[in-house]
Symmetry: C2
Subunit: 84 residues, 2 copies
């Protein structure tokens, strides 16, 4: 299976990286950019054929390694993989 994980900062958590991007875009003339938030996008290829089991496993990965649940939220999406 293939899992797609989006990890983003919780709303209210300061995002200095996003602010740096916004400032750089302003300097480049993109003045209509109001806000920028940067997150992570991770694609995993996982052995297995059960989407529910894969989903549960990837959530455990997020809780233990991929995300910091204190300041980040994550979204998991499981699709048939390249060698599902």
């Amino acid at each position: 299976m293939r899992a797609r994980v989006h990890i983003t900062l919780r709303s209210g958590v300061l995002d200095p990286q996003g602010q740096a991007i916004r400032n750089a875009l302003h300097s480049l003339g993109f003045g209509d950019v109001r806000d920028v938030r940067q997150g992570k996008y991770i694609e995993l290829d996982i052995d297995g054929t059960d989407p529910d089991a894969t989903d549960a496993e990837v959530r455990r990965m997020c809780e233990t390694l991929l995300a910091n649940p204190v300041i980040e939220t994550y979204r998991v999406e499981v699709v048939p993989g390249p060698e599902a």
Copy 2:
């Protein structure tokens, strides 16, 4: 408008960060993880009401700042924003 940008390494480009994540997952007992690729996910809030114009503008941002077109590809998605 709100734009969602996915930036990923081109296939064939080595992804040491993804490999590090895979190795860490293996150490944690997630041995069925075959491959991991890490990319970036950026959300931008942009003044404007024309989805096509916003899409074109965000692509220019990707080419000039957000992505490195030599080794990365990007995907842009424009949706009605929080204050569309």
